[in-house]
């Protein structure tokens, strides 16, 4: 594990802002958004890592920026890696991992749906849970959740 | 009095034919009520349920109430349906069943139309059923119905062949095309089912019968979980009732036919012949129902493969066997 982390740090240098060994088989990495895809690809292909299982991908909104969270699992060594990064709210763009890991395809679509994060290079980036004509991105902190802001609003229920 | 009536009808044969037709048609309408009720009860008991319970004693009038409800329901014709065929299909299904009952002997002399080629007639007429299903499936203008209708045609036609071959085995063995003749042969020589070639024929007939009346494991045309309800998806009200009635009457008929071919028809000790016919039919119907609630359903390619790869060759060979043994 230590060797693997060393190799990773050597390979990416400054791009890995922070790393933390949470438990013997779990690492948390904070990387820069520009190296998002490279790091993921490295983690998948490097024989010391072999993180071949995309467990989870999500985005959150702190009000200032979007955080991106990717959790990978390795079926060979039973290890977990959590990769974190942050992207600016004004221009939420990040490289898509859908071609690397088909499993994050729907996760990325959902995050686009809810936060409006553009995953560059995604094969089919369109809304997944909400209807195609929905306006706005409801999970953003500044989304106005009034019924009138909802394009689907109909008559209010009466008894 | 009875003599007078007999004389009256002998003088007016057309009227007598009309009476017989009406009686048979109503019989075809009433018998499904009983069969459906029994089916629901048996299904319930097998599945740890109670089945219908509240309309009438032990729910006996439940099916009648359902039939009444269906008759009173709004008759919905889907937009874009091919109206003529859509209207016609259920009645064709029903008429084909009634026609089959025409030549079926229930007891000595109890037959609407004594025909010396009854078996041939039944084989011919029952094929109308396929036509009606295809008509219903096509004219509904619904993709599920169409899939169901096409499945039905493929399946019914494939199973018609081994079925006819196994029936022919009986015909050659007994040397008669008339149902009454076949039964009388059995009264003299013992039931056909105990004779080796007919045993195999009976097994094949049994399997094909399941397929012909669309029962599990051959209920593909109305595979509920895949095609919603298959060819009769778009039908409601009276027309649906006719499909349903003809299906269950068919169920009754196919077992009665089997009783005549393999189990000696009305033949049996002590009880009157008519009771024996019904007894045999209901035992067989019970087995069909028991079977229906047990296995899953097959897939269309498996069904066809089974029919063409196994049933057709085996029934052909069996037919030769029967001919060889039957010629006397």
């Amino acid at each position: 594990m230590n060797q693997a982390i060393e190799n990773l740090l050597q390979r990416f240098g400054e791009a890995v802002h922070e790393w933390k060994l949470v438990s013997p088989n779990e690492v948390h990495l904070t990387v820069s958004a520009s190296h998002w895809r490279e790091v993921a690809q490295y983690l998948r292909d490097d024989p010391l890592w072999q993180m071949d299982y995309p467990a989870d991908l999500t985005v959150w909104d702190t009000g200032n920026e979007f955080g991106v969270y990717l959790r990978l699992w390795c079926s060979v060594y039973n290890r977990n890696v959590i990769v974190l990064t942050s992207i600016p709210r004004e221009e939420p763009r990040i490289a898509s991992l859908a071609t690397l890991y088909p499993g994050v395809d729907w996760h990325e679509r959902e995050m686009y749906d809810m936060y409006g994060v553009i995953f560059e290079g995604h094969p089919n980036l369109k809304r997944i849970l909400l209807p195609d004509d929905w306006e706005g991105f409801p999970f953003r902190k500044d989304y106005v959740a009034e019924p009138s802001g909802n394009p689907l609003h109909g008559p209010q229920p009466v008894n | 009095m009875i003599e007078a009536i007999t004389q009256f009808f002998t003088q007016h044969p057309l009227l007598w034919a009309f009476v017989k037709a009406v009686v048979l048609a109503s019989f075809t309408l009433v018998i499904p009520l009983a069969v459906i009720y029994v089916e629901r009860k048996i299904a319930g008991f097998i599945q740890s349920r109670l089945g219908p319970l509240h309309v009438g004693p032990q729910g006996t009038f439940q099916t009648a109430a359902d039939a009444l409800k269906l008759l009173l329901k709004e008759d919905i014709v889907p937009e874009g349906a091919d109206k003529r065929f859509f209207y016609l299909a259920p009645y064709i299904a029903f008429v084909s069943t009634v026609l089959c009952f025409m030549v079926l002997p229930f007891a000595p002399g109890w037959v609407a139309l004594e025909m010396n080629v009854a078996v041939l007639f039944i084989i011919g007429v029952s094929l109308f059923n396929v036509v009606s299903i295809l008509m219903a499936g096509w004219s509904s203008n619904n993709k599920y119905s169409l899939l169901g209708g096409l499945r039905a045609v493929a399946q019914l036609l494939s199973y018609e062949i081994p079925m006819v071959l196994s029936v022919l085995a009986v015909v050659f063995y007994t040397g008669s095309l008339s149902l009454t003749g076949i039964i009388e042969y059995q009264v003299k020589h013992g039931w056909n089912i105990w004779h080796p070639p007919i045993m195999i024929a009976a097994l094949i007939y049994f399997i094909c019968a399941l397929a012909e009346i669309n029962r599990t494991p051959f209920d593909l045309p109305e595979a509920e979980s895949e095609l919603v309800s298959g060819f009769n998806t778009e039908y409601s009200g009276m027309r649906f009732a006719f499909f349903f009635a003809s299906e269950f009457a068919n169920n009754f008929f196919i077992t009665a036919f089997a009783a005549a071919l393999f189990f000696g028809g009305w033949d049996g000790p002590v009880l009157p012949p008519i009771v024996w016919t019904f007894l045999k039919v209901f035992v067989m119907i019970f087995v069909f129902m028991w079977l229906r609630w047990t296995p899953p359903r097959l897939r269309i390619d498996q069904i066809l493969r089974f029919a063409w790869q196994l049933l057709v060759p085996v029934s052909l060979a069996n037919l030769l066997f029967a001919i060889a043994l039957g010629v006397r």
Binding site: P54, T58, W60, T62, P102, W106, L129 | I46, S225, R299
Partner: protein, 359 residues
Amino acid sequence: MVINVGPQHPSTHGVLRLILTLDGEQILACEPVIGYLHRGLEKMMERRPYRHNIPFTDRLDYLAALSNNLAICQCIERLGGVEVPERAQYIRVLLMELQRIASHLVFLGTFGTDLGATTMFLYAFREREMVLDLLEECTGARLTYNWVRVGGVPDDLPEGFGQKVLDFVKLFRQRIEEYDMLLTRNRIFRSRTQGIGVIPKETALAYGCSGPVARASGIPYDIRKVAPYEVYNRVEFDVPVFEDGDVWARYLVRMEELRQSLRIIEQVLRDMPDGPVQTKLPKIFKPPAGIAYSRVESPRGELSFMMVSDGGANPVRVHIRAPSFVNLSVLPRLLEGAKVADLVAILGSIDVVLGEIDR
């Protein structure tokens, strides 16, 4: 021919819509359309204090509500560093395994109906009712249990509960034999399931399949073994793994899991210590800032909650990694070239619950 399966269809198991392109009975392409049940639960959770969110999770995977309760509670516990008393952990494991049996029985029943064996449905639900009766006696509800709390479980087991569970286990062993006789060994059932909807191991890994779907494809990914939570490292059980990846293997995995669950239940009841069942927590619960996630092996696969806290009373973000959501994303690949009749078998074997897909 383009045909719409769902959102109202007998075998889509909820409001799932599949747009199929057919060539006769052959499926050329399939596009799932989801979101009919979307309620924005994740957003709702952001606006409420941590512990108020537990009842909402009942509505995710409504067939295995306790797994969801456990997942969110574990996540909050990790975020706030809360310890769980030992007895509570045993109770949790006991209820989880009962829940797994109930959920797999729904799978068994609906899968049987999908393939036309209607009676199987009634039998499976008959036994499920027994499990629900047990759970009702313990938790007070039949579907939305809400019976896990941060730092334990709300109450101890009722009097005589253990004996009732053991009685059930004894009866259920016989019933599994019966299911095998009725369905598993049936020739028709086997020809309907074998070699259908094969997910190769590489595909299952790349798509992030979990639960029985992954295990049927040869990936030994069971959170109970890979990252044991509660007391799963103290009980002995096997994880069934098959190499074939077809519908049949997925079915067998679930059947075997039923047996293993019974084993776990017996061991848990034997080893359960006495003691308190809940840790006392402050009324306003404010975990320190940070990110935490929890993984739970729900009956459908890896159910994971991820929470971001900024030290306030409400979470900043709650993310639910729903196993059905990920497993369903393989469906378009599986259905290419399959028959219409296989559609229901394949979809049934993935065992999706729309409540957690749409969240």
